[in-house]
Amino acid sequence: MSKEILNPAAGVKRPLGIYLHIPFCRQKCLYCDFLSAPARETVIERYVDALCAQIDREAAGYRDFCVRTVFIGGGTPSLLSTEQIRRIMELLCTHFKLEKDAEITMESNPGTLDYDRLCGYRRAGINRLSMGLQSAQDKELKALGRIHDYNTFLKNYEAARAAGFDNINVDLMSALPGQTLEGWLDTLRKVAELTPEHISAYSLIIEEGTPFYERYGEEKPGPWPPLPTEEEDRLMYERTEQLLKEYGYHRYEISNYAKPGRECLHNVGYWERTDYVGFGLGSASLVNDVRWKMTDNLSEFLRIFLEEDETDGKEEIWHLNGAEQMEEFMFLGLRLTQGISLRNFREQFKTGITDVYGTVLRRLEEEGLILFYEDGKRMKLTPKGVDLSNYVLAQFLLEE
């Protein structure tokens, strides 16, 4: 008998992603509905303590996993000092088995960086940097309530390269107030010319509860720049892929573009339903087909992990049943340009995709929204399907 069967623990470990949430920002941007807010240094320090306590407490449950990606997101993770980041990274390495070339990403706000910090983060083990630029037009940045201008970003981008970051992502947003198609294309070009390895291009969404919703949600005209029209929005979005292609970026997901081999593995994990565990306020997890999230109440979080509370802070725990797993397989997997593999579906769910979704697939194919390729082995969204992805993905929800 082979060693693997006698000793399964010594066999191949399953891949795991780790997400850490840093819920602090210098200032809230007007469009943002993420879990973050300004806070004093003392609070941030206590939070880092609590975060580390959570890792200490829970890491033992993941012995069977091998960490392939780590993602420190926020808020503004770059508000943390290099010492704080180092501390967190050290803890992770102690408690988890990290793959040799694990992708370790940290999000940052260009207004909170400098060369020294960047060196510090690099030394601490961060090997991928995500920079939230949003736009190269200073006027637009102001309208968003961002704390930086384009030059600051430029300076810090150079600094990141100098500090040794060879895997950088830049976040950009279209459909901004006052933005024109030319402005957007200019932003894209400027950034593409800097040759970051990865670019994320999102469309602004007016979220309830944000200052932008007060302005734009109710369609009240006022002394603020208007949103682009539906047609302009669509054009911006349409021209992005074309333009970035010219600069060597390949669209591998609805909103994500990368140089070959430089896709964000952590995010791909979300869409391929790799297991991931979240640490920190409001962070989400998916392990063994169970989803949950951590409390988003800061005092609650601090209390649980700093005062050795019995409770674990987990909320909205959901055991996904077969149908729900299938749904997720579809509506997450189809976000990737390469789509899904029919064989994977069968292997995971022990039934053919046409048995479950036969009618839906036929209809969507007729409507030109999906196509089968590689000899019918794979299925993906067509360009039209990508444009209408919300509609298409909704079709894969199964009736109760």
């Binding site: 999102y202 919300n390 929800l397």
Partner: protein, 605 residues
């Protein structure tokens, strides 16, 4: 019951404009007389249907009998007959009045006389009732009892100097009302020895007892065992039980005789056998003439009702059957629509009646309905001399065989404050009204008289009236008759397919305007599809208006990270949810409510 002298009976009703306090006064009268203590009172005891309580209006007429010991020491039987206060139910009001000898007119001390005050008073006087006024809501700071008394004397011509000033809500001065009921309303006439002659003013279907007939005995007597005959239908039944009304209860007794108000049961299976307004007589000793005034009530407004889920058709049919048991004025018959499948053409006394039935079907019988635009009954005169009464626009014969058409016209009285006279006259003109005249009630109020086509007022005329007069206008109308009119059928095409359920008849001068508004309304109601959807209005095959629902070209969720997955799923679910209340017409999904909402066409200012 024994021992009460016919001379000590008082049969009366309370008449008033809506919200002037009719029901509250009824409650106080019941409270103050010998039937229920205040603690046993539920709010507005007479309205024992939930719906009615919610809307605060009385739908079914009911009666209550109480005992009052007057200041002269004698005991009196007070039979209070409740009447519906809405213009849709005019006929029922009329029959309830015919069962009375007098009426208590309630007028709001702040609002004064309004359109229905007048309408109801005229109706009561037409029935030779003794009417005396009562001024209510004197507790309000805006109450002006003296002014209102004057108004009553000047405008109606009733003595008002000793009208009781009351607050029904607070129970002030109710005794005075009771005293005046005794002194001003005459005792009923008729002799118990004459052949039985009784007027049916209402009925109720009970699953055990069958139809319970409410009536006022004009002459003669009836008891258990009497073989009664309904004079309009000729049907006879053996009386099983007679009795009178407590509050919400039926109290059996031995006999009912001339002057009394009560009920009988006779194992009558079908409410259609007992028509409101009909005369009940003794089959073995019938009276020579029925009482005057019986007439068949005809529905004024029709619409199509379809189950949202075709499989529920039998449920809808059963529900309509049950509703009709208690509502003889509800009409229905099966019909089909290419767009909506199998359903029913239903007839109602008016729009309020329609809304009430619709609500009951949805609430009590749990039915999801698609209702088509209500329309009136048109008369189509064909070239071959035949006349058809058209209740479904889709059945309009080909124009080549139509000689001419007629539409129902009403005469309306609108009470309005003078500053809005211009605005209201404009509204009536827009609705093809014919001005008859105007009377100033006092300096600040006028009564406008117009003749209007019924189809112009059944939708949102009332709402338009209210909004153009800032809520101060009130109106009342009655059928005048049919008049020749230039009418056309407006068809609606969605994605180039005619949707028969959206067709309706309209005056040719309004066709363009209506067609345009309907297209605009539908454009807002129909969600975007993957293809462009043309919406067109057509008359006789010619397109007269058009709107387009643009194709959906972008519907993407850009940002989606780990924390968002459950939220993302909720968003997708919402997208799918929207599909449930849709109706598939060809390739297009139309929300159910779109069929009715195209009615709200007035631009309210």
């Amino acid at each position: 019951m024994a021992g009460i002298n016919q001379k000590n009976i008082r049969n009366f009703c309370i008449i008033a404009h809506i919200d002037h306090g009719k029901s509250t006064l009824a409650d106080r009268i019941i409270e103050k007389t010998g039937l229920l203590t205040s603690r046993e009172m539920q709010e507005q005891v007479l309205d024992n249907m939930d719906l009615e309580r919610e809307r605060g209006i009385t739908i079914k007429s009911q009666a209550v009998r109480t005992i009052y010991r007057a200041s002269n020491g004698e005991e009196y039987i007070l039979n209070l007959i409740d009447t519906p206060g809405h213009v849709d139910f005019n006929y029922e009001v009329s029959r309830a009045l015919a069962a009375c000898d007098g009426a208590v007119l309630v007028v709001d001390a702040a609002q004064g006389i309004e359109a229905q005050t007048l309408a109801n008073v005229y109706l009561a006087l037409d029935h030779d009732l003794e009417v005396f006024p009562v001024i209510n809501k004197i507790d309000l700071p805006s109450a002006e009892p003296e002014r209102v008394k004057e108004e009553i004397e000047d405008v109606i011509g009733l003595e008002a100097h000793d009208a009781p000033l009351i607050s029904a809500k607070n129970g002030i001065n109710i005794e005075e009302v009771l005293e005046q009921i005794v002194t001003k309303i005459p005792a009923p006439g008729g002799s118990p020895d004459n052949p039985l002659q009784a007027l049916i003013f209402d009925s109720l279907y009970d699953p055990y007892k069958g139809v319970i007939v409410f009536f006022r005995v004009m002459e003669g007597r009836v008891r258990k065992g009497t073989k009664v005959k309904m004079m309009a239908t000729g049907a006879s039944f053996e009386t099983v039980e007679v009795g009178y009304f407590g509050a919400g209860q039926f109290i059996p007794c031995e006999e009912l005789s001339a002057g009394m108000v009560g009920y009988l049961t006779a194992s009558i299976k079908n409410v259609k056998d007992t028509r409101v307004g009909d005369t009940v007589t003794d089959a073995d000793r019938p009276c020579s003439q029925p009482l005057p005034g019986y007439k068949k009530v005809n529905p004024m407004v029709y619409c199509g009702m379809y189950p949202a889920d075709g499989a529920k058709y039998p449920d809808l049919r059963d529900a309509l059957e049950k509703l009709q048991l208690n509502d003889a004025s509800l009409f229905y018959e099966p019909e089909t629509s290419i767009a909506l499948g199998f359903g029913f053409r239903c007839g109602f006394l008016g729009l309020l009646h329609l809304e009430i039935i619709q609500e009951r079907l949805e609430r009590e019988y749990n039915l999801d309905l698609v209702t088509t635009a209500p329309g009136v009954v048109y008369r189509v005169h064909k070239t071959n001399g035949e006349m058809i009464e058209l209740t479904n626009p889709s059945n309009l014969p080909d124009p080549s065989v139509i000689d001419y058409m007629e539409e129902p016209i009403v005469s309306a009285e609108i009470m309005v404050t003078t500053e809005f006279i211009g605005s209201i006259m404009e509204l009536c003109q827009e609705r093809r009204g014919r001005y008859l005249g105007m009377e100033y009630m006092e300096e600040t109020r006028a009564l406008l008289k117009y003749e209007l086509p019924l189809n112009e007022i059944i939708y949102d005329f009332f709402d338009a009236l209210k909004s153009r007069s800032r809520g101060y206008a009130s109106f009342d109308y009655e059928m005048k008759g049919y008049e020749r009119s230039e009418l056309v059928k407006l068809d609606i095409l969605i994605n180039r397919e005619e949707v028969d359920a959206l067709s309706f008849i309209v005056h040719k001068d309004s066709a363009y305007d209506r067609g345009r508004k309907m297209c605009e309304k539908l454009k807002d109601e129909i969600p975007r599809h993957l293809f462009e959807i043309p919406i067109q209005a057509a008359v006789g095959g010619k397109i007269i208006a058009r709107e387009t629902v643009k194709a959906m070209r972008k519907d993407v969720l850009a940002k989606c990270y780990g924390g968002d997955i459950t939220r993302k799923k909720k968003l997708l679910e919402k997208q799918k949810e929207g599909k449930k209340r849709m109706r598939q017409i060809g390739n297009v999904e139309i929300p159910q409510k779109a069929f009715m909402s195209v009615l709200k066409l007035d631009d309210t200012r």
